[in-house]
Amino acid sequence: MEIAYTKTTLANGLDVILHEDHALPIVAVNVWYHVGSKDERPGRTGFAHLFEHLMFEGSANHDSGYFPPLQDAGAAVNGSTNADRTNYWEVVPTGALELALFLESDRMGFLLPALTEKKFTTQREVVINERRQNYENRPYGLAGIAMATALYPSRHPYHWPTIGYTPDLRDATLDDVRDFFARHYHPANASLALAGDIDPARALALVERYFGDLPAGPPVPAVAVPHDGIASERRIVLEDRVDRPRVYLAWRSPALFAEGDAALDVVADVIASGKTSRLYRTLVHERRLALDVSAAQSSRELEGFFQLAATAAPGRTLAEIEAVVTAALAELAADGPTDAELSRALAQAEANFIYRLQTVGGFSGKSDQLNAYNVYRGDPGSFDADLARYLRLTPADVRDAARRLVASPHVALSVVPTGGSDQALAGSETAVAS
């Protein structure tokens, strides 16, 4: 399933990736900035995500909101931020390609002259409300923050949450955010993908016209990663407005595309994804200890983390769940998956690769995938190489990945109802989640 594309790097360092697909009269415009919360520093967290808001508020040559002209043009528009990168995208009717390129180039090159104290303070309040809505006022919403805090030492770039700490957001000054923009938001730290109803020669000329004269910007130094892991198993507890206790078990794991990354996806699949998984059968179906169980290898640029979560059924305890999970992981680490389990997981992986090619834009559409492969691997056409990582796995590879995982220390987080710390795993200390 190769995707035909061209890649050009402009003189200022901007990577431009073009892919033709004329099924519908639409074009996806997708920009990745290789900046995420990993590029922040303690005391100044939440900036990459805050920019995801400020980038829609206007730039020097279009000093008003970005949504009105794009929505009038019939565009879908969004962006997202994680620890590693920020993406911005539009899916526009063919006739609005130039509009989208103008706006993307203007905020890449000319955001700061239009950035006022008023825009900054309003969007900071919006972000603080986003934090309240999605983390503080949502059951189990602070679990991810508590887990990251415990899993990574305080200087580690994955220690703090992408949404940021509220006091940091409150302390941030306009000069701080200007400085952050100048360091990270420029052509040499960005990748632009266009996918859809384009004529590549004309599209490249338009890109050159709007982005070609933007200054390259300073080189972005690699993020320093402290190599101290967690020394030993840690148990922590967080009280929350929840009815049922839930346990999260997490390990630090191989980075995206590193040895063992794909195998851990299969470990997650075999152990806890869907009704065929081992733990769904034992924990939920047969023994009814849990209401649900899930697992995932979160592949990230500096390193990954593997997390398993299960919610206790009424009358059951997290200790009972933990015992079953530990035994299941030990079994997989000893014997590996069956051939049937592996072939089933790979059939799903292969189909999912094809399903993801249905959309030109948006999150995980073709333009987003081209940019992901370009930013993380330097090769936009890595579709087949990525799939091949899975198709060549053997049961022994999966067993070995599980074995390495369980041999390393993990963090066990119990989220329990307010006042119910006795429902946590024994010996849990109070979690830090702010």
Partner: protein
Amino acid sequence: MTAPAPRTLPAVGDSRGIHFPPIHKHTRGDGLRVWTVEHRGLPVVCLSVLWPIGSAADPVDRFGLTSLTADLLDEGTRTLDAVALHDALARIGSHLEGEVGPDAAALGLVTLVRHGARATELLADVASHPRFDESDFVRVRDNRISRLVQMRDVPAAVAERIFGTQLYGAHPYGHSSVGVERTLRATTLDDVRRFHAEVLLRTTPTIIAVGDVTPADVIRWVDAAWPVQAGGFVAATAPSVSTAALPKGPSLSLVQRANAAQSELRVGRVSAARSTPDYAALAVMNTILGGTFVSRVNLKLREQKGFTYGVRSTFDYRREPGPFSVQTSVQASATTEAIADILTEIRDISGARPATEVEIAKAQAALTRSYPRSFETVEQVARAVAQMALHGLSDDYFDNFVRDVSRVTAAQVSDVAQRYVPAEDLHVVVVGDRSHLSADGLGRGPIVERSVGED
């Protein structure tokens, strides 16, 4: 070398239009319908079955029955236990998605075309020969009850539930499709078996296939797999409950949530049915009021005041009049002001500040220009076809939508705002801390405290 561009906003050029693809419609001797849309490009197909019977048909003492039955379908069939069934689905790169709404139940999957015959076989087996084991039933039902208890901690879920009963009272749309704890506890496996055999299996199904397939392929798959209904399928009988008996607005309900960081808000009323002749005018009006990021309510509450991460308004179109609602979550201290602002924006669009010609032109452009991207994936096209099948929309319905939206006038926008969302009637639901809510000046009457408990 290309000359740098002048840095001004480029005009939007023309784009070619699209036509909704033809639907090949086949009706079998027993009434079963097979609708196929050829959607080429990738070797994938979306297969689904739609029954025009939903949670509105749940008996009053068995709220949640349709949804619980649908949920039990994938616990295995007569010949495949749950593990074998899900293993078979995974091997064709697929998993089942079930959905039960007020008016319809659907079951579907996406698979690779080369597995189309096998996928149809599994879909037919799941729909027609569910295993319905007692132990699965107890587990699934009890898990649903546990989830309902968990949902009491989710402000948005609490707000939706109270909003539903506040708008609809005893009307069949007044309960959510998952049911409530009391009725789920009362439901037995016999109820499920009876509903499945006597209602669901007898109701005319529509099989919808969208993908890199021909109608002949799909008909062959269905004929090989789907049991023929002796005596033929029957049309669904929609519950006929008058909307005349609906609770009267306005009202102001509060679910107390001490020290909540935010207040979850719903503002709305029973409004328009899917068959409304005003659909295009309502689409334009809603786009301006709260349907987009640049809508009046979002600009006011998010972009001007920073009270919220976002606010939007929607019409949920159903067979009978469905709810109009404004939905948001605002910082606690802004609760009363945010409600007042929402009510003002709704009132003003049919009064003091009617939609301007510019706003209408922009809304029309947004709606018509965005239209082609609604039909990119096989799932998107299948959803559109399901709308047509469920609501009896004509084959040219989606193509005419662009034309109809383009013809909407300012007078129509004011008119539909007045008739469908009169501000004086609106119900307000708040899930948050009462210390931030004042009824003064909102015109909704006194605060009525509500709770979600064992009901």
